[in-house]
Amino acid sequence: MRLTRVRAADFRNLSFADVDLDAPRVFLLGPNGQGKTNLLEAAGLVTALRSFRVTDIEPLVRLGCAEARVRVDLDLGAEGQACVEVTLAKGARRAKVDGTPVASAAELVPRFPTVVFCSDDLRLVRGSPGNRRRWLDLALSGTDPAYLRDLRAYTRALESRNALLRSGQADDAQLEALERAMAEPAAGVAAARAEALADLAPHLRGVCDLAGFSGLAELTHRADTPADRLAEAWRSGRRLDRQTETTRHGPHRDDFDILFGGRDAATHASEGQQRLLVLALCLAQLRRADQRAATPPVILADDVLGELDEERRRAFWSAIGDTHQVVATGTLPPPEGAWKIIEVRDGAYHPRV
């Protein structure tokens, strides 16, 4: 799959943008805060109508506008062309593929796969459990339609339960009803995360071997509460939940461990090793996505290499190979290679000729 053109109207602070991306490797180059990431974010909506930066719709709609519109043209190889139109308004995300409305975002996942590497990923090893959860959620939402459905349902249920707790009217009957409705998506989310981490681990070790990384990397899911004990945890936690006005247990408190050489990478790997470990995780994520997608996913890489030296950056891009389209952003020009470079300044996109 290849993104050939992205148009955005009233998206973030862009009133209008129309950018030709029709090349195997595209690099959006410019200082921070000019709109590089906004365009990448708009393009990423094709997979699951989900932004890789925020979960709410509100920040995506330009201030004072009723809705944001994004239109992405795609080249699907033997299957021809497609056009995905996305409309985001307060409380609603809608999409049309070639003019036909889609019933749910999950439908788009297998059709228009993208894999996102984002600069937040750098906090993966040492950051909070929330950083790791977001990374895993994003990775799975882009590959597993069932996960996206369960995660959305669980998130909505959790917001409902917390709203009920805050309302001061949280009687047992209403809590019980919500908890029963939550149980199924919660179990789905937890199982998919554990399975995905088990899937990712051998890919991660493969990538580390290639990079000549000594020390065995491992990933283990750490559930806040095992799925079969959640109902009981919610029930017996109601009194304290009412006091704290929040749901203290569930998959929204899960985490996973990144072990390096058998020890916690956050405390036992050097800063340099941690950075490489994050890049290895990105590549492992890509390998897993490749196995699950019918067409090679497009890679959206948001300033993922940071200030890494030239040699390491070159090694990273060559590890990706040439079967995927790459759309990357950065403040430094990419290493040599056939990149289409687009300079970004003040929300304007100028192809470098």
């Binding site: 019933a103 349902a153 917001e159 209403q174 009803a177 409705a181």
Partner: protein, 200 residues
């Protein structure tokens, strides 16, 4: 924009399904472009305000104490179908296969929007279950989280331990998150016929 126009636009905007553009278009259409349509509309609204009310038994739209379904003696009181709103009831009626009666909740449990049991037509449901010969309750609510939670609530609060009453559920197989109203008649017919037993 004039102040009076702005007032109308604001009020229209508060109605479901109207964003600010469509509210503005509607206000312009009625007040400026086609003012001739306004008088009959106001008259109809006035007449409807006096005539239309909730059916005392089921909550459906009615112009007398009983709605057209409840007034129809051929409808089977043993099968009671719980729906979220009147459009859902109408969608099920269009399938032509359901011969029981309805109960309209006028919403569903939604803590995010501040809708609790007290805001729904639930007390009347309890009374009906206590007094009518109901053998099956069909829970025809959307299959998203709020629909599911509302079903659980009804089962726990009104149907738990009630011997001899079958509880079934439809809403499966419909696009996730969308209500019954958006399903076509054929889909609704097959979900009604294939409704599954979810116990009491």
């Amino acid at each position: 924009m004039t102040p009076a126009f702005e007032k109308v636009r604001q009020l229209l905007r508060g109605l479901p399904g109207l964003g600010h553009r469509s509210a503005e278009r509607l206000a312009l259409h009625l007040l400026v472009e086609r003012p001739a349509k306004l008088a009959p509309l106001l008259e109809a609204l006035g007449a409807a305000t006096r005539a239309v009310r909730r059916c005392e038994r089921c909550g459906n739209l009615a112009e007398s104490p009983a709605c057209s379904v409840c007034a129809d003696s051929r409808r089977d009181p043993a099968v009671l179908c719980v729906v979220e709103n009147v459009p859902d009831l109408m969608a099920l009626e269009r399938t032509g296969v359901f011969r029981g009666t309805y109960h309209v909740l006028h919403g569903r449990l939604s803590p995010i929007n501040g809708i609790g049991p007290g805001e729904l037509n639930l007390a009347r449901l309890g009374e009906r279950l206590a007094t009518e010969p109901v053998a099956e309750v069909v829970l025809a609510l959307g299959n998203d989280i709020e629909g599911e939670a509302t079903c659980h609530y009804i089962r726990e609060s009104f149907l738990a331990g009630r011997m001899g009453t079958k509880v079934t559920r439809i809403g499966f197989g419909l696009p996730s998150g969308s209500g019954l109203t958006f399903a076509d008649a054929e889909t609704l017919r097959s979900s009604l016929e294939g409704r599954r037993d979810v116990g009491g």
